[in-house]
Symmetry: C2
Subunit: 497 residues, 2 copies
Amino acid sequence: MKLKVKDLDISTGGPLIAILNWKDSSELDLHYLDRIKIIKGKKIETVTIDIAQSKKMVSSGRIGLFEEVLQSLNLKDGDIIKIIPARKPTSIDYIKKKLDGFKLDKKEIEQIVWDIVNNKLSDIELTYFVAACYANELDLEETTILTNAMAKYGNTLKLKRYPIMDKHSVGGVAGNRTTMIIVPIIAAAGLTIPKTSSRSITSPAGTADTVEVLTNVNISINKMKRIVEKTNGCLVWGGGLDLAPADDKIIKVEKPLAIDAKSQLLASVMAKKASVSATHLLVDIPSGKGSKISSKEKARKLKGDFISLGKELRIKVRVIITDGKEPIGNGIGPALEARDVLWILGNDKRGPKDLRMKALKMAGLMLEMGGKAGKGNGFKLALDILKSGKAYKKIVEIIKAQGGREVDPDGIELAPVTYDYSAYKDGVIKEISNRAISKTARVAGAPQDKGAGIYLRKHVGDKVKKGEALFTIYAPNKDKLDYVKDVIKAVDGVVIR
Amino acid sequence: MKLKVKDLDISTGGPLIAILNWKDSSELDLHYLDRIKIIKGKKIETVTIDIAQSKKMVSSGRIGLFEEVLQSLNLKDGDIIKIIPARKPTSIDYIKKKLDGFKLDKKEIEQIVWDIVNNKLSDIELTYFVAACYANELDLEETTILTNAMAKYGNTLKLKRYPIMDKHSVGGVAGNRTTMIIVPIIAAAGLTIPKTSSRSITSPAGTADTVEVLTNVNISINKMKRIVEKTNGCLVWGGGLDLAPADDKIIKVEKPLAIDAKSQLLASVMAKKASVSATHLLVDIPSGKGSKISSKEKARKLKGDFISLGKELRIKVRVIITDGKEPIGNGIGPALEARDVLWILGNDKRGPKDLRMKALKMAGLMLEMGGKAGKGNGFKLALDILKSGKAYKKIVEIIKAQGGREVDPDGIELAPVTYDYSAYKDGVIKEISNRAISKTARVAGAPQDKGAGIYLRKHVGDKVKKGEALFTIYAPNKDKLDYVKDVIKAVDGVVIR
């Protein structure tokens, strides 16, 4: 059947979709989410169909195309194309199989991941896959295959080096910007650490957002390789590299139900590590009230899962369970966090001690894993590298390699309107809620507004007097600040006893 | 936040969706599939958001709206509206709960169904519900609640009559147009039978498609009530009545994976019966090779489920398991089937015997259920009503009440181009495949082209000579016929031994 293209001037954000008028679809006996091949000259693309019931949207004789399809076939409004019915992707049968509770083999999982990466599945079909893996948890063998497949169908970084170090934090703790301190220490010690980080999704800043205050993070994989070969390390945004791209698509359909299938979380993290050819990985699992992993028991279970999967993937994994009950560092928000980091690396006494200590401990363990220090001596080596100024020199080198310039921490631009939130009574701080502090910093504008956020003046255990500042809010204007004040009343983030 | 409406000129076919530019959504800390309230004057509507990454689709300061939202708020391109963040529907928590394997209570299931009916859930969220009910099968109590909720949130037909008879066939058998023979017999006997039927989805004709050859089937619920009060029966299209509308939305997301959650199949059928206040129901489960229910064991299990659910709903259910291995009747396709039915009702000897016998048996059972005949005497009464011409008189009465005129079966217009498909050898017919015959009839143009289809000249068990006609194809033109001939080669529908 020949049809005339209608440019719908809208993108689906992934899936390849075409809309047919119901008359044309009936004639070809095609139904919602069936597949067709669109043929234009020598180019062929298989797409999923949706059906227009009214001729207002797509009239008979026309085919409505979304941007992804137009681009893929280089089509424009008014072009004439030919369509023929096509089979559904075989991965749909495998998804059904998993939903029925059966185990999937390598061929099946690889086909599913390939189809996800190449936009061959509709959101509904992908959702069935996520639901199937959640209701019928993948076992270790399936998780290993999934991880390898996610890494394989995407970009990979190959380096002629050994070992290749990496770190990962499970997240959920405000601040906690250890990566930017660890990477320069490890790289300065002569180990290779091609670090990729994410931007914030629901937090006031991801590591990539904070690095971006100092330098460019949107780096191609080839450039990343050259930077790592030159400086031993990098601090780039993972989202721009197309590493394990299936993962992002899976996360998109997990969010509506806040699905966190354990096997998928593991595969998601480890696939990105496998993509950069990591050989040694330190995982930080913050645990405690108000963090992502609320109980020690859950944390220990997750630790075991990371180590088992690491063995299968031949990545040497070490896991530490850390205190996740309050924010780490003082700055919350990209610019405020970047300033903390530079103060610590510059041995400025204003650098927050909790963040410095946690980063040194983690860097120490990694130096031991990478063979640069004997068991128990890593911390000392990390401290030496920090104190000597070598770590500071290294981060400046990385900043420059990524296209930035040396930055004076006191010159980092913060949001102009500030407000001190003060203690409502005398006492000792019992609790600072990660969730409440994060929410407040986000409402103030972080991470979009890099200078916005919160600067903590006190931590858990500190004595405070009524009226003393607990934290300072940084907002871009007074309207926003007033809104933040309203939100603070509702979230009640600091408990004084 | 105030935004200017962009009419996207496209409909979603259900879910209420708005598209924001990523800058605006970041500022409000909104993510994919979050909810917002759109406010225009006194009108408020809660919708799901999608996020545009490019300004080409929706630029900052604008909100892209699909037809459903524009209609709901009576908006047009360029209007200024206000948006505020809104909570997600609580039903999302309940869906997650079911996916986690927990049992749902009445309040939870009713909320889910209400949200489905009112387009409050995205396709992804609805898919999670279907997957959850499939992976963690609903028990009888949950199925009962779901059935009642599906019936409750939709139109219902209330009649001051008792009993109210109904029938249902699980489907999968080509032809099998028993309903059009049973309804006039039952109604002529003085029982009430407000029959709704579906159109074809994947078959060459649904009962509604076949009735439509003779009269109007798209009838409002009020008119349906008047027709039933006058004639005791009707033969209308259920899809036009908005009975149990949640069901259609659920089926839409089941199709891509051919999900057939048993509890949902049961709820789907029974909710439509509850919507018309049926008190007595005869269910026909065709079973055998090539039918939907392939084994006798599965058929017996399904029979038990129908009866149990019927008890909970206080609908008296009787189930017969029939032979589903070959088509029933000779005509396959709306016009050819309608002709068969009128021949049978008119006592014309050309009426197919297998269809006549099956319909009489079923009608007989229903006459017994409804108290018009003693046990074992229903068949005879049904036969009397048929032979006496009362059933024919009754269908003419119903046809007229629905807006049609008496039709001469030999005057029904069939597709003009015919072709006899003949036996490839001497022998006895061992098998006629429902699937192959249905596929062939659809390719010939049924049900869109009402006159197209197949007319069977032989049935299983008949002796044939090489070259003798097995069936006749009716196609609208020669091109189509040639295409049908190609398809027949591939499907190989008739086995001769």
